[in-house]
């Protein structure tokens, strides 16, 4: 969606990601989603009197990986208490990082080449989960709520972007790219539907060239789609408000996915005074430089590098091929294409098969050996099987029908068509379609597709398109 002329959108995102640790941030309870309520709690994460937190080293490691991936400064940091009363926060304060976060001042490059600044990426603990007892489970109108503390104390990293985002599509691209980065670092499973990654958006609008407008923070954005829709809605709301002579109030707003609207949660005047202070139960964190270096060096390539590496295999990629590159990297299956490239195979075919056939069965790709993929691509490229047959072979391999492409091809009866039979068939078709043949001979290359289609129909897809063209050209 584009804004009315003369208006500019300014968005900053706060992204919370749960970390893939075995245990919680400050206690040994298992960090696990979807268990029976209150089965993963102990005195520490339940905030029982007398309990004390002890920091999880792996959470620090994962936070530093995120910092390294986002080109942040990784620095000595402290833990503060953010004090507020809320029943899902078992101690009635959240342990978080405040003026000295572990990661600060980095950036994330998006596939379109734009760069979004990262202000900070700090460690903190997650809250419990509240179930509202009312029709529909909504907070409004609920008479009573029930709290499960299994999620309470799960490690989070909160990633705060600079207000560099200028459209809802860019916000979505940033969120999507950040998700890929988080998965690539091993810090997150990326499961938005399970709440592993959650978004808050700070949205303001301004007339071009003017200073930043008053921003509103939108909460409850649980998918890329709602993120984009909510920003669009909110931008239009603010513009309408200003154009009708009103002023935007600084406030926190709630996105209602069903209604497609944001509504006021809290105005700034009601903002809590969080009384941040250093948590006296924890000591300062100052990761040794050797540890930080190790994290930086062990960091696997990030999606942007991987896209460049994959794109570099193509001489002058089309935009469809670039989309395929993005999809393949996003799914983390580019190793198949690289395997084909290493064997000097046909990279264009490989990319297409990866972006389509492998992508559609991405949960099964571990069944497929890289060398089997290379073989299928070679079989298709050499005309040993047709494209249609190659797709069927990949589907069969991914479904676990066989592990060897050639034995699967035999089992499916994908014999390469006899060259003389094809030759005879092409002769027949030329005779049956003299008009088309004369136009083809006259230089109308589109007619090749006509003949290929005819051959395919007669051979039930067994023939190879390239060979058909060779046969036609031999008679031109």
């Amino acid at each position: 969606m584009s804004l009315p002329d003369g208006w500019e959108l300014v968005v900053g995102l706060e992204v919370h990601t749960e970390l893939l640790t075995a245990s919680k941030l400050f206690c040994g309870c298992e960090n696990r989603f979807g268990e029976e309520p209150n089965t993963h709690v102990c005195p520490v994460c339940l905030g029982l009197p007398g309990s004390l937190p002890v920091l999880n080293r792996q959470a620090v490691e994962l936070a530093m990986r995120i910092g390294a991936a986002l080109h942040c400064t990784i620095a000595p940091s402290t833990f503060h208490r953010k004090n507020y009363f809320y029943p899902d926060q078992s101690k009635d304060y959240q342990i978080s990082q405040y003026d000295l976060p572990i990661n600060s001042r980095g950036y994330l490059d998006l596939p379109d080449g734009s760069r979004i600044g990262i202000e900070r990426a700090h460690l903190e603990e997650d809250t419990g989960k509240t179930t509202h007892l009312s029709s529909g489970g909504r907070l409004q109108g609920a008479e009573r709520s029930l709290v499960d503390y299994n999620r309470c104390g799960v490690p989070l990293v909160e990633i705060v972007s600079a207000p560099d985002i200028r459209s809802s599509a860019q916000a979505r691209a940033y969120a999507s790219e950040l998700r890929s980065v988080l998965i690539a670092t091993g810090a997150s499973d990326g499961r938005l539907e399970e709440g592993s990654i959650r978004f808050d958006a700070n949205v303001s609008v301004r007339r071009a060239g003017e200073p930043f407008g008053t921003r509103c923070e939108i909460k409850n954005l649980n998918s890329l789609r709602s993120l984009q829709r909510a920003i669009d809605y909110e931008a239009q709301r603010q513009i309408d408000l200003i154009e009708s002579g009103g002023v935007v109030r600084q406030e926190t707003r709630h996105w209602d996915e069903g209604l497609g609207e944001t509504s006021t949660l809290r105005v700034k005047e009601d903002a809590e005074d969080y009384r941040y202070f250093r948590d006296p139960d924890l000591v300062d964190l100052a990761p040794e430089p050797a540890w930080v270096d190790e994290v930086r060096h062990r960091l696997p390539p990030m999606p942007s590098e991987r896209r460049s590496a994959l794109g570099a295999l193509l001489s002058s990629p089309t935009s469809a091929q670039l989309d395929a590159v993005e999809a393949v990297v996003e799914l983390g299956i580019e190793r198949f294409v690289h395997a084909v490239a290493r064997e000097n195979g046909d990279v264009v075919i490989a990319l297409s098969r990866a972006a389509n056939e492998l992508a559609s069965a991405v949960d099964e790709v571990d069944r497929l050996a890289e060398h089997s993929f290379v073989t299928v691509v070679d079989m298709e490229a050499s005309g040993e099987v047709s494209a249609t047959q190659a797709k069927a072979l990949l589907a069969g391999l991914l479904a676990g029908e066989d592990s060897d492409p050639r034995s699967l091809a035999r089992a499916k009866g994908f014999e390469k068509m006899d060259q003389s039979a094809l030759s005879t068939l092409v002769e027949e078709l030329i005779g049956a379609h003299p008009d088309e043949w004369s136009r083809y001979r006259g230089g109308d290359e589109k007619l090749a597709q006509f003949f290929i289609g005819q051959v395919m129909r007669r051979t039930k897809g067994q023939a190879n398109g390239k060979t058909v063209i060779e046969e036609l050209n031999a008679r031109r």
Partner: protein, 473 residues
């Protein structure tokens, strides 16, 4: 009978742990209704422990250095399944599902955990008058307070209920009641004793320590409860301290600073006791010098900002949701307010509000931020003093035990009680109060020895000299 002798005799099979326990329980049953030192007994648990100790002895196994020693626990220490109240209404009949590290260590050393003692609510006070379960009486004079906040533990030892009790000391809450009740009270180096399972008042100041009748028993108990605990991030990476072996090392050749700011303004008898203590140390071969550490005068102000600030956050979890008492309300905020308003006493409310204010927007820098810097000044000042001396000497409290109600109407007057004990908490150093003299009405007067971090062994040797030569107490 003191703890060390009791344990030795139990380990040798000369007396049974069960008989030691029954004697202790008999004294408690006879006197506690009057003194209110114990809030609750765990007779069943203690008997089971005594039987285990006796069985180990019979089998020729070592039941541990505190075998058969009855020990009282301040009721802010968690013991699985045993009601823990912090002398507050807000905890109701809370039974913790876990046990404090110190309690585990005591049990592992063969001690018999007989019950939980009274305190100022959440350890906030200097008289044990702020208990939701009524005050504890001073066994030396029933018209007087036992001091606080660990008044119940001090009284339990003074009344010979148990030879040892644990307390917690945030600003003097072990040493001041020890002085008032005429027993030994030790606050260890911050981080030497695990706080895991101690209901926090002010996390950066709280430290668990022993009450005992002898300096040697304090050393013995600290050996058992001290040493690194991975469950407390502020725990020092040190092993169990070796203390009993050094308790008779004496003070010959030691330098002791007699610190003006640690006795000035105290009652004449208290000042006299401190000077006598200096003479005793001198006679034992110590070089005692007069010192002034002016920064100590800032301690009280810094303490009454830092401790309430931390408390305001530590006590937020008492909200009626997960444990303890709840007063209903029409929504969750109303419920929390009603619960806390009913559940907390005035002193706790006062400190929560004071701390909330000191941390709130616009006041943090002037109060809390400034107080943390004063801590740095005091650490530096102590460090300078300890370049010249091994130990510091002063009074524990400005007065002997005062009558009930004498100070409870005025918080500031009550806080001034802690002026000599607070500095060590702010810098994390150890200190000990040794009963040394008598003052007004024949009431006990304790003197205080202070040392740098991890100097317990030197400090205890000094305390042992004072104990040996104290005036006929």
């Amino acid at each position: 009978m003191n703890a060390r002798t009791t344990a030795q005799r139990v380990r040798r099979g000369e007396i049974s742990a069960v008989s030691v326990l029954e004697d202790s329980l008999a004294r408690i049953h006879a006197e506690n209704p009057r003194l209110n030192a114990f809030l609750r007994l765990d007779e069943e648990g203690a008997r089971a422990a005594a039987e285990r100790v006796d069985a180990l002895v019979a089998a020729g196994d070592d039941p541990g250095p505190l075998a058969g020693v009855p020990i009282a626990l301040k009721d802010n220490l968690c013991q699985r399944g045993v009601v823990t109240t912090c002398a507050s209404r807000i905890l109701g009949e809370w039974r913790p599902p876990y046990t404090a590290t110190v309690v585990e260590r005591l049990a592992g050393a063969g001690a018999l955990l007989v019950g939980k003692t009274n305190l100022d609510e959440f350890a906030m006070g200097s008289s044990t008058e702020n208990s939701a379960y009524g005050p504890t009486l001073n066994p030396r004079d029933l018209s007087r307070v036992p001091g606080g906040s660990s008044g119940g533990s001090a009284a339990a030892v003074a009344a010979d209920f148990t030879p040892v009790a644990l307390g917690s000391d945030t600003g003097g809450s072990i040493r001041q009641p020890a002085s008032f009740c005429g027993v030994v009270g030790l606050k260890p180096t911050y981080g030497l004793v695990s706080r895991f399972g101690l209901v926090a008042f002010a996390s950066s100041l709280d430290q668990i320590g022993p009450f005992s009748t002898t300096v040697e028993d304090a050393a013995l108990t600290l050996e058992v409860i001290g040493g690194h605990d991975p469950r407390d991030s502020t725990s020092l990476r040190v092993g169990a301290p070796q203390l009993v072996a050094h308790v008779d090392d004496g003070v010959a050749g030691r330098r002791v600073g007699l610190v003006r700011e640690l006795f000035e303004g105290a009652d004449a008898e208290v000042v006299a006791a401190v000077h006598t203590a200096a003479e005793v140390l001198r006679a034992a071969g110590a070089d005692v010098v007069d010192l002034s550490i002016p920064e100590l005068s800032l301690g009280l102000s810094a303490y009454y900002i830092i401790a309430p600030a931390e408390a305001s956050s530590n006590l937020a979890r008492f909200d009626g949701v997960r444990f303890g008492h709840r007063v209903s309300g029409e929504d969750v905020t109303a419920m929390m307010e009603a619960t806390r308003t009913f559940g907390f006493g005035d002193e706790v409310k006062r400190r929560i509000m004071l701390g909330t204010y000191a941390l709130s927007a616009g006041y943090y820098d002037a109060y809390y931020g400034q107080a943390l810097k004063v801590r740095t000044l005091m650490i530096d000042a102590f460090a300078r003093a300890y370049q010249h001396v091994d130990l510091l000497l002063g009074a524990t409290a400005p007065t002997v035990a005062f009558p009930f109600g004498a100070k409870s109407h005025d918080p500031m007057t009550m806080y001034l009680n802690d002026v000599f004990t607070i500095p060590t908490n702010l810098v994390g150093h150890p200190a000990i109060s040794v009963p040394f003299a008598t003052g007004e009405g024949g009431l006990p007067v304790g003197v205080q020895l202070l040392g740098p971090g991890m100097s317990e062994s030197v400090m205890l040797a000094g305390a042992r000299i004072l104990e040996r030569d104290r005036e006929g107490l």
